[in-house]
Amino acid sequence: MAGDEFQADVLSVSERMAAEALIVDVDGYEGPLDLLLTLSRTQKVDLRRVSVLQLAEQYLAFVEKARHLRIELAADYLVMAAWLAFLKSRLLLPPEPGDEGPSGEELAAHLAYQLERLQAMREVAATLMARDRLGRDFFARGIPEDVRRTRRVTYTATLMDLMQAYARIRTKDEFRPYVMDRDAVMTLEEALERMRGLIGFAGDWTDLTSYLPEGWQVDPGRRRSATAANFAASLELVKTGAVEIRQSDTFAPIQIRKRHDG
């Protein structure tokens, strides 16, 4: 506005210098909270006693000055300005009856808390960085001696494993170890065994249903069992990292492929 420009022109040289110094610094601030903290120091009081009202006025004056000097402030500075203007009105005006939300005092207290907390964090950060530091003030061993690591593998097996293994061998020709006869059921183990052998040939995405064995593709009961077993087996293989699995949409065909390392 013309009036504003005129006003800016009549500012004394020293005033302009001061204003510009402040503006030039804008880049140096890490956001509105940082700026507020800097402004609060001009009050020269303990942060716990800082006057938030006064601070809001300082901030708004700063933003106003920036506007005079046609400095474009980042959006978050303007958001903070709007909020502080709101806070100011809350602090100055008596609350309207039926007013919802936190009071001006509560908002002001939280802002003061935020400033105090930021200030405290800055102080401890400085204390931390001023501590004696490894590699600067104190040092670790210059010639560490490597610990030689050897890996020893021990195998575990129980007597039960041993007996079962023996029973398996001795009975495989004559009769089978105890299993229930369920013609129409394919077990996860069977499917896994089969798929482990087949997966090596699946270089590219292949429909899971194409893995169903001969004789399990037509009869609904057998087909259902084989599909479920194959699906569970493929998940098992995915878990071990042998294959990848995908389904483009709900009820879309499930596809798997051998996983290529790297």
């Binding site: 890490e30 956001g31 808390y113 964090m121 931390l128 490894l134 670790a140 061993r141």
Partner: protein, 216 residues
Amino acid sequence: MAEDDDPQAPAESLFEAPPMGEQERMVEAILFASADPVPVSDLAARMPHGSDPAEALAHLRKRYEGRGVQVVRVGDAWAIRTAPDLGFLMHKEVVEERKLSRAAIETLAIIAYHQPVTRAEIEEIRGVSVSRGTVDLLIEQGWIRFGRRKMTPGRPVTFVVTPEFLDQFGLESARDLPGLKELRAAGLLDNRPPPGGPGDEDDDGEDGDQSELFEE
């Protein structure tokens, strides 16, 4: 020792542990050989059966009091480090460190004092957004790592400081951070949410709803 004659002594004492003086030598050798702090469990695993590394450590620590190198605790681990007052002799060993930005330093301090802390909480404290690069840099330095997720809407990841951080700043544990007690007493480490800040209520409500929906 009387314990050895005790018929109630545990079965482990079948294998006699080496005398404490020997155990102290062992701990000394292991700590000297390692540039990184060695956990007590590692000491126990490497020393003969029945050894008491904690006691040996206490003796060793005492022995090195006032010497040119010291036995220091770093979290659950122990290390030997040169005495800080002799740093001036080590100019040759100083590794030129990357200068940390102010943002990185403050972020590190906030993580140390508020851990486990989410990115949103760090941003709330600093009043500005935390850049990816800052967090990446601190992780790369080995000073922070991901902690467990917070049980709040969205289950955000948290950050915590590492044992390397403690080692770097010569801290025995995160409890020994300078000024920690005072900050806590002053309530400055509380997670104090803004009093119904503009739009915050809405956001929270939505987040809550969302996670509820997703958790079904």
